[in-house]
């Protein structure tokens, strides 16, 4: 079992195997993402009841919260890939770690913008320099820093290794974001959804949150595989496997 897992792991390190794997998975991931988003958004906007305090304004959380979770989950995925990059030097892991950064930055931005839109009517301000909001803004800057550092190197592999070190340094921010609302007093409220304890959201409001969260995870998978595949093809456009891969998917020239 372990040797098989190890073999599959090593096989994915080969660009051609990765290309095939990505090609097979991407349509499924996008299909399921669209189904999840459609069901989730319909439930969030039409089926679930309004909140007793906020009325309909609270519905923005069905985008805000999955985006925030994904912004942090993306960073954790990148940290694992960065360790693989630095220790095992597997090229597809390097490329996946680097192509994940803009996706994480996008989710962070969605989280910040939807939060500001909600904050204006509810808190009375778009922005506050409290620990939660500030640490989330720092996450955006870390993502941008990783992207900039990677792009600054002519040698892509060297750039990926240097940027991976930055990923490892930045990972301390993830627990700070999560615990900021417990360690300090913040304007942002504490966690509503608790995996290890009671959640403070009425069960009737939960289904769309679950649908949207799963859909966003699948969307991340689709985007990551797609971006990594494209980056591989671009970097290897003069290599033999690329020609082989393009022939396989019916792009003869």
């Amino acid at each position: 079992m372990w040797t098989q897992t190890k073999l599959a792991f090593h096989k994915l390190g080969s660009p051609l195997t990765f290309f095939r794997f990505a090609q097979a998975l991407i349509p499924w991931l996008w299909g399921l993402t669209l189904v999840g988003l459609a069901v989730g958004l319909y439930q969030a906007l039409y089926l679930v009841p309004p909140d007793y305090q906020q009325g309909d304004s609270y519905r923005i959380l069905y985008i805000h919260v999955p985006a925030a979770w994904q912004a942090m989950a993306t960073y954790i995925v990148m940290t694992i890939l960065a360790v693989i990059t630095l220790v095992w030097r597997i090229r597809t892991a390097e490329i996946m770690a680097m192509t994940a950064a803009p996706i994480g930055a996008a989710f962070t931005l969605i989280c910040l913008v939807t939060g500001a839109i909600w904050g204006r009517p509810m808190w009375g301000t778009y922005w506050a320099w409290d620990a939660r909001l500030t640490s989330m803004l720092v996450l955006l800057f870390i993502y941008l820093g990783i992207m900039g550092l990677y792009a600054a190197f002519d040698d892509r592999r060297q750039g990926a290794r240097v940027a991976s070190i930055l990923i490892l340094v930045g990972v301390v921010n993830i627990p700070i974001i999560h615990f900021s609302v417990e360690w300090w007093t913040t304007l942002h409220q504490g966690s509503t959804i608790n995996l290890f304890g009671p959640s403070t959201m009425d069960p009737s409001m939960l289904p769309p949150l679950i649908w949207m969260t799963v859909a966003v995870k699948l969307m991340f998978g689709a985007l990551l595989l797609q971006r990594a595949r494209n980056e591989l093809l671009e970097q290897d456009q003069r290599k033999k496997w690329t020609l082989q891969a393009l022939r396989m998917s019916g792009h003869d020239s």
């Binding site: 007793y52 305090q53 009517p121 009375g124 620990a131 990972v171 007093t185 403070t200 959201m201």
Partner: protein
């Protein structure tokens, strides 16, 4: 695992450990500065210089809101259960502002102990429920919708 990879893995582990320790020390040192607001009970202990700006956080005490009929001037009391501070404010209050709501007011204390707020923000709690559930809880006399 080859010796070279083992060495790199050790380096990676040490890097994360080192950065984590540095962050933990920095956070501990900055503990007080990371607080977004302080509660009425903490004002006594925190020796603030007079006229110093800070954020006061707590609940709007029930029955304490007094609005001026001619202007936007309003006074209310912010409490954390143990201590309370009277607050004055002139301006538009957020939609969620009402009795029992968590609020954060920025301003300063005068010599008489009145807090002059320049800005008042509502703090939303982490509870979400439909109006019917809230009404049912009200009938049962269960507390909900208050800060912590």
């Amino acid at each position: 695992m080859t010796p070279r990879r083992r060495k790199r893995l050790t380096a990676v582990a040490l890097l994360v450990l080192g950065v984590g320790t540095a962050a933990a020390i920095a956070i501990t040192a900055l503990q007080d500065n990371m607080l977004y607001f302080i509660a009425p009970s903490d004002i006594q202990t925190s020796e603030l210089p007079p006229e110093r700006n800070f954020r006061l956080g707590g609940l709007v005490e029930a029955g304490s809101i007094q609005r001026d009929s001619e202007s936007l001037y309003v006074t209310f009391t912010v409490t954390d259960g143990a201590h309370s501070v009277p607050v004055s404010y002139a301006g538009i209050l957020p939609d969620l502002f009402r009795e029992g709501q968590g609020v954060i007011a920025q301003g300063h204390l005068d010599d008489a102990g009145l807090f002059h707020a320049r800005e008042v923000l509502a703090r939303h709690d982490e509870t979400y429920m439909p109006p019917e559930v809230a009404a049912a809880l009200d009938r049962a006399g269960a507390p909900h919708g208050v800060l912590e």
